[in-house]
C-alpha cells in the first residue's frame, strides 16, 4: 500500500487516474445505452400509440397509424409528422402535434381532425405549467380539453377561437389565462395547418 500512496502523489498519476475513471464510466454508459435503447424506443412507441388512440373516437381507425405517416413542412419550416387514420383503406382523419408557448415553456398538444376539418379530440402530451393552476389542461385533471371535440372553423367562427376573456368560446381557468390561451391558439393553428395542407395530407405519400 505504501507504494500506492507514493504513486498517488505523483503529478502524472492524477490525470491518468482521472482518465481511467472517465473511460470506465463512459464504457458503463455506452453499455447501459446499448442495453436499454431498444426497450426505450418500444416504450415511447407504446406511449405515442396510446395517445394517438386517445384523440380518435373508438373504432375510428383500423390501420396502424404509426406506419401511415406523411411529413409536411409547416410555415416555419419544421417538418410535421401527420399520422393518418384509415378505415377500409380510405383516409378518415389525421393526427399530429401542435405546440404553443405557455406560461412556463412549450405546451405540446396532439390533435385529431376528421377529413372535413372537425376536431375529433385533443390531448396535452407535454407541458411545464404550474401544478394546481395551469395543469387543468391535462385530461386527468379536468375535462376542459374535451371542449375542443366537435369544434371546427365553421362552428365556432374563426374569430371566436379564443378564451372567453378575449371574446372567444373557450373557458379560461381562475388564476390562469395564459395557459388555456396558448392551447386554444395551438389547436387553432393546427386546424389552419390542416386546411392549408389538406390535399397533401389526404393524398400524399
Amino acid at each position: 500500500m505504501s507504494t500506492l500512496a507514493r504513486w498517488r502523489e505523483k503529478l502524472t498519476y492524477q490525470p491518468v487516474s482521472l482518465g481511467i475513471v472517465a473511460m470506465l464510466t463512459s464504457a458503463a454508459l455506452a453499455f447501459g445505452n446499448h442495453a436499454t435503447h431498444e426497450d426505450i424506443l418500444k416504450a415511447e412507441q407504446r406511449d405515442l400509440q396510446a395517445s394517438l388512440t386517445q384523440v380518435l373516437p373508438e373504432g375510428y381507425a383500423d390501420n396502424d397509424l404509426l406506419k401511415d405517416t406523411v411529413k409536411i413542412a409547416a410555415a416555419d419550416g419544421h417538418p410535421v409528422t401527420v399520422y393518418r387514420a384509415r378505415k377500409a383503406g380510405a383516409v378518415t382523419g389525421a393526427v399530429f402535434q401542435v405546440s404553443g408557448r405557455g406560461y412556463a415553456g412549450d405546451i405540446v398538444v396532439l390533435i385529431g381532425i376528421d377529413t372535413e376539418g372537425t376536431m375529433l379530440g385533443a390531448r396535452v402530451i407535454k407541458h411545464h405549467e404550474t401544478p394546481g393552476l395551469g395543469d387543468k389542461i391535462e385530461v386527468a385533471k379536468s375535462k376542459w380539453i374535451r371542449d375542443f371535440e366537435g369544434k371546427s372553423f365553421e362552428s365556432p367562427a374563426t374569430e371566436k377561437w379564443g378564451v372567453k376573456k378575449d371574446g372567444g368560446v373557450f373557458d379560461q381557468f381562475a388564476g390562469a389565462t395564459i395557459t388555456p390561451r396558448a392551447v386554444v391558439k395551438a389547436v387553432k393553428g393546427g386546424l389552419a395547418f390542416y386546411a392549408a395542407h389538406k390535399q397533401e395530407i389526404l393524398e400524399g405519400n
Binding site: 498517488r8 502523489e9 482521472l18
Partner: protein, 228 residues
Amino acid sequence: MDYRQIMKDGLWNQNVVLTQLLGMCPTMAVTTSGTNGLGMGLATTVVLVASNAIVAAIRDFVSHQVRIPVFIGIIATMVTLVDMGLNAWFHDLYKVLGLYIALIVANCAVLGRAEAFAARQPVLASALDGLWMGLGFTGALTAIGLVRELVGAGTLFSQASLLLGPKFAFMEITVLPNYGGVLMMILPPAGFLVLGLLLAAKRLYERRAERSGDAIPQPMGAPAIGCH
C-alpha cells in the same frame, strides 16, 4: 464498524434533510405529494447505495486532489444508468419520476456521503451508510410531501398505485372530500414552511431528550464544497 450506529445516524441523528440540511433542491421541488417524496427518496437511495459502494471500493486508488471529479463522474454515471433503466423497464414509473431523476446528480447528499463516509470506510459499511442515509432521506421527503398534500389537496399518497403498482391502491386516501385545496401548499414556498416546522419539531423533541441526558446530535462531516 458499528452497523447499528450507521443505521441510527442515517435514519435520525445525521438525517440528510433534518440534521445535515443537504439535498435541499429535490426536497423543495419534489415534495408536493407523499407519493412524489417517496419515489424520489427511493430512486436516490438506489443511487446512494451504488455510488457509496463504488467510491469505497476505489478509495485507495483515488488521490486527494482529483477525488471530487472522480466522485461526481461516478455519481453522474449511476444516475444516468438508473434513468435509462427506469425509462426502459419501468416506463410508467418513469413518466411519474422521470423529471426528478436527473435532479439526483445535483443532490449534495450523494456527494456528501461519498466525501464524508465512503472515501474513508470499507465497502459494506459504505453501502449500508448509503442505504440508511437514503431511507432517512426518503422518510423526510415523504413526511414533508404528506403534510403538503394533506393541507394542499386533502389527500394522502394520491397516485401511489402509479408508483408502486395497482396492489398499493389502498394507500390512496382522500381525507377531506370536496376540499377546495390550498394552492400555496403545492407551490414552492410551502416546501420551506413545512421543512421549517419539521426542523422545529425535531429540535423540540431533542431538547426534551437532552433534559433526560441524551446529547443533541450535531451535523458532522459536511461536504467540502459549499453545496446544499
